[in-house]
């Protein structure tokens, strides 16, 4: 008794120390592989730390449009005043006066219309005629303001190009979604050079919420999304979810065990191997991964180690009356040892997957299983030398049902055959190829993110090009080469492409445009000739001539100068052009892609070392396929190894096969049921299947040995405990947790029933 309390205390302290000493990584990106090709490497770097991580998308709804607009405007003003954001986009976002002035000044260096021959009399004449016609139309006030300084329309062309794609509706200075119930929209980019860590993301999210609250929203609700929200709030929500489920399942489990064993001591007994396994697994994972344990691996690993409650339960239940716990442990050890070793060996498949998160999970669960088994064998008997815990006999109907099931090999064979046929008929299990399904972010949050992105016209990255790395001039030049090559595809293979050179031409291009501008006297002569016979006063275009003269001497515009003079435009440019140390990296985002193959082909034809084509979907799917295949192969290899180990341990390949029967059957049934339910398998389902195989080994080994009512009762207790632990997970909103819960629950139930049916018949109850 005292030893047990001391052991529990020691474990709690050990766990606490480990928890504070080892850092836990929280983001999904680090859980993912580093990427095998340059394309996937770039992709994952962007996911982890790219400018995309700084984006916050918001919708405000639940009030009258005028009120929503007010709240939106005031929230935006608060965000701008906070100084934490590089860019805040809402209905009040237009090019400011100063920005317009900068654009106006640089119009002949920025405009693609500046070409040799664009300023001859022949080229100017139609422009002047068009201006005259424009002055007769409703556009005359605007043209009267800018047209005489810019008769070629360079400035208006630029301004139109920069604001053209805002497909949003502006009402009362707020953006509104064009579909659905009234919803004001905002977009903000948190201040930072590149990506943000989780803490800074959390601060940006908190600032956003504070600005919204300060706008006195009344009944209006804020819907906030973006990587920052996922990292901070969604993760917290998931943790709360897990905590609730853990508490609920622990309560259920405790109640069940108390009912079956009528002993509080047993609860302590069960807790010791579980805690020891978790701590050993955690320590080993921290050691293997240099102290960077993935939060996801830890969470799921701990969930998986829930199965180790089987070991103390088996020990307590299989103890014969009047047998000491120590003797019981010694007696069942060969079987227990074989079961734990086989299960751990099966998990080794995860080590070969090459998926960092799964490797950690494998190390964690494997070490934990072995440690829990060892604790059960050597520590528990020492902790409670005189324990006299025994399970109550099973209620009569259950015992009768199990007795009837025993030895029904035909039934078991039929079920397995049926599952195999069903699986074949369904075309085999469906493999999940969408990275989002692996994300710990709940589906509702993912759906909201997609909706806000669509409404705001924010790029939902499907296809992109990586530009560079190199100097700013090199990256912008690469961007221009890509723009030229992609132009013929616009309108059919893709709808649009957002390039850094769209906002800032390369330095060489700006210099070439300067060179294309005529000398002042030439320009004046050409203009005079073009004006002949038109009703313009002689001095009307003096500002135009002055601007041409000034443009000759302007220093080319750089990203730094753009950031200083035109923050709105710089904010559009910054996600497409980022500085990484000395080098500059560019991104071009393709929109409305109908034919990714044409773009891949384009990149191949260009064969440009600074332009890399990335089909995000294909790339992640390919990665997941590759890792899935690797894991599957390793799982098969693990299966063969386990079979070999069983053969060695049981001394006969025939007996090994008989033990393996229920395991294979449970896997088949589980796969068939999952496929029938329309579940697409992810890596986590695979990991759960491996775990399930480990559990089934316990059941099968013990029942194959001696299938008395007592053994069956003990195994039923184990199976029910596992069901109580994992069954609740199946109701989780988080896709991964749901997948694990469902897989293990179906598997445990079928493994238990199959193991019973395949157990040898005993002539009469002794």
């Amino acid at each position: 008794m005292r030893r047990l309390a001391a052991a529990l205390l020691l474990l709690a302290v050990l766990g606490g120390v480990l928890g504070t000493q080892v850092g836990i990584r929280a983001d999904l990106a680090e859980f993912l592989p580093p990427g095998r090709s340059p394309a996937s490497a770039f992709l994952f770097r962007e996911l982890q730390s790219g400018a995309a991580t700084t984006l916050l998308l918001a919708g405000i709804e639940g009030a009258e449009p005028a009120e929503l607009a007010r709240v939106s405007r005031e929230t935006a003003a608060g965000l701008r005043a906070s100084g934490r954001f590089d860019f805040v986009g809402d209905g009040t976002t237009t090019l400011g006066e100063a920005e317009q002035a900068l654009l106006f000044r640089y119009r002949y260096l920025l405009s693609p219309e500046t070409r040799p021959g664009a300023f001859t009399a022949a080229a100017l004449r139609p422009k002047l005629e068009a201006l005259l016609e424009g002055l007769r139309t409703a556009a005359s006030p605007l043209l009267a303001r800018v047209g005489f300084a810019d008769p070629t329309g360079a400035f208006l062309g630029l301004a139109r190009a920069f604001v053209a794609e805002s497909r949003l509706e502006t009402r009362d200075g707020a953006w509104f979604a064009t579909e659905g119930p009234p919803r004001a929209l905002l977009i903000a980019r948190a201040r930072s050079g590149a990506g943000l860590d989780a803490e800074a993301q959390g601060e940006a999210v908190a600032t956003f919420r504070a600005a919204f609250a300060a706008a006195k929203p009344g009944p209006a609700r804020l819907l906030l999304s973006g990587p920052g929200v996922f990292a901070s709030e969604a993760a917290a929500a998931i943790r709360a979810d897990i905590r609730l489920i853990t508490l609920a399942s622990a309560g259920l489990l405790a109640a069940f065990l108390l009912w079956r064993y009528r002993s509080l001591l047993l609860l302590g007994l069960v807790a010791v191997p579980l805690a020891a396994g978790t701590i050993a697994g955690f320590a080993m994972t921290a050691l293997v991964s240099n102290g960077a344990v993935q939060g996801i691996a830890l969470g799921f690993g701990m969930t998986m180690l829930g199965v180790t409650v089987d070991y103390p339960l088996l020990l307590a239940s299989l103890r014969r009356p009047e047998e000491a716990l120590r003797d019981a442990a010694r007696r069942i050890w060969p079987t227990l040892r074989l079961a734990a070793a086989s299960a751990a060996l099966g998990l080794a498949a995860m080590l070969g997957s090459g998926f960092p998160g799964l490797v950690q999970l494998g190390v964690f669960a494997g070490t934990g299983l072995l440690a829990a088994a060892a604790t059960t064998r050597w520590v528990l008997p020492w902790l409670l030398p005189g324990a006299r815990i025994a399970a109550r006999p099973l209620p009569r109907p259950i015992r009768a049902a199990l007795g009837a099931l025993r030895g029904r090999r035909g039934l078991a064979g039929g079920v397995m055959l049926g599952a195999a046929v069903l699986l074949l008929a369904l075309g085999g299990p469906a493999w999940q190829r969408d990275l989002a399904a692996l994300s710990p972010v709940p589906r509702a949050a993912q759906a909201l993110d997609g909706e806000l992105r669509r409404q705001l016209g924010a790029p939902d990255v499907r296809v992109l090009f990586a530009l560079g790395p190199g100097t700013e001039a090199e990256v912008l030049a690469a961007s221009e080469r890509l723009a030229e090559a992609a132009a013929p595809l616009l309108g059919h293979a893709l709808q649009g492409i957002d390039l850094p050179s769209r906002y800032l031409p390369a330095e060489a291009t700006q210099r070439a445009r300067q060179a294309a501008l005529p000398a002042p006297e030439t320009a004046q002569a050409a203009l005079a000739e073009a004006m002949a016979g038109l009703p313009f006063r002689p001095s009307a275009f003096a500002p135009f001539l002055a601007a041409i003269a000034e443009s000759h001497g302007l220093p080319p515009l750089t990203a730094t100068a753009l950031a200083a003079g035109a923050p709105t435009l710089a904010a559009r440019l910054s996600p497409l052009l980022s500085r990484r140390g000395e080098a500059v990296q560019g991104v071009a985002l393709a929109q409305g892609v109908a034919d990714p193959a044409a773009l891949a082909d384009l990149a191949r034809r260009l064969d440009d070392p600074k332009i890399l084509f990335i089909d995000v979907k294909a790339e992640t799917e390919g990665l997941l396929d590759a890792y899935g295949r690797a894991t599957l192969l390793w799982a098969l290899a693990g299966g063969v190894l386990v079979l070999g180990l069983l053969g060695l341990g049981l001394g006969s390949p025939w007996r090994a096969l008989r033990v393996a029967g229920p395991i294979g059957g449970a896997l088949l049934v589980t796969l068939a049921v999952l496929t029938l339910l329309g579940e697409a398998l992810t890596l986590f389902h695979l990991a759960s299947l491996l775990l399930l195989a480990g559990l089934a080994i316990d059941y099968s080994l013990f029942l194959a040995g001696d299938a008395t009512d007592d053994t069956m009762g003990a195994i039923l207790n184990c199976a029910t405990s596992t069901l109580l632990t994992f069954g609740l997970l199946a109701f989780c909103g988080t896709p991964v947790l749901h997948g694990i819960g469902l897989t293990v629950s179906i598997g445990v139930a079928s493994a238990f029933l199959l193991a019973c049916a395949l157990a040898p018949k005993i002539p009469a109850h002794a």
Binding site: T94, T137, A138, P141, L142, A144, R145, E169, D172, P535
Partner: protein, 188 residues
């Protein structure tokens, strides 16, 4: 009760600062009583850089509460329609149809709010956007309203708008901006 009384007396105190001209208020009520109207217009733009004025003509249509259409028939057919905060521009001969936010077009906005506010008889809206100088010569006779945009941004584009009429009818609108004047004559 007491709070309501306090509010009333505060309003009463605030009222003189706004100097509501009773003749102006009556005129606005007259406009508010006409939910729709239609009239012909002729327009002449004088731009300092041009030797000669640019004439045009067409139809004006108003539908309460906020829909205003200017349909130019000559020399170029085009339609400019404002509804709420949206601006629709159509030019059938070129198949052009563009939609803008009124917010982004200061020149247009300055004019639209003046015409719309007058036709709707919405004095509060006019006062929100302009400083108003009103000179009635007779309660039912001709009147003149000088509107100066309050917003610096609008005033940079349009310095002054002169609206004149007779009874609840607008007869002419002169817009002064950027050194030029646009005169619009309206015949019901």
């Amino acid at each position: 009760m007491r709070r309501g009384f306090l509010l009333l007396s505060l309003l009463a105190l605030a009222a003189p600062a706004r100097a509501e001209d009773p003749a102006l208020v009556r005129l606005m009520q007259g406009f508010a009583a006409q939910p729709r109207s239609e009239a012909r217009f002729t327009e002449e733009k004088a731009i300092p850089e041009l030797d000669l004025p640019l004439p045009s003509e067409g139809m004006l249509r108003w539908q309460a509460p906020d829909r205003l259409e200017k349909h130019t028939t000559s020399p170029i057919e085009e339609v400019l329609r404002v509804e709420g905060g949206r601006l629709l521009y159509e030019r059938p001969d070129r198949g052009i149809r563009r939609e803008f936010s009124l917010e982004d077009q200061p020149e247009m906005r300055a004019l639209v709010e003046a015409v719309r506010g007058t036709l709707a008889g919405n004095l509060a809206s006019l006062q929100r956007h302009y400083e108003i100088g009103f000179t009635p010569e007779d309660s039912a006779g001709p009147w003149r309203m000088v509107l100066t945009p309050l917003s610096v941004r609008l005033r940079a584009a349009v310095q002054r708008i002169l609206v004149s009429g007779r009874g609840a009818q607008v007869r002419s609108i002169d817009t002064e901006g950027g050194g030029g004047v646009t005169r619009m004559q309206i015949t019901p």
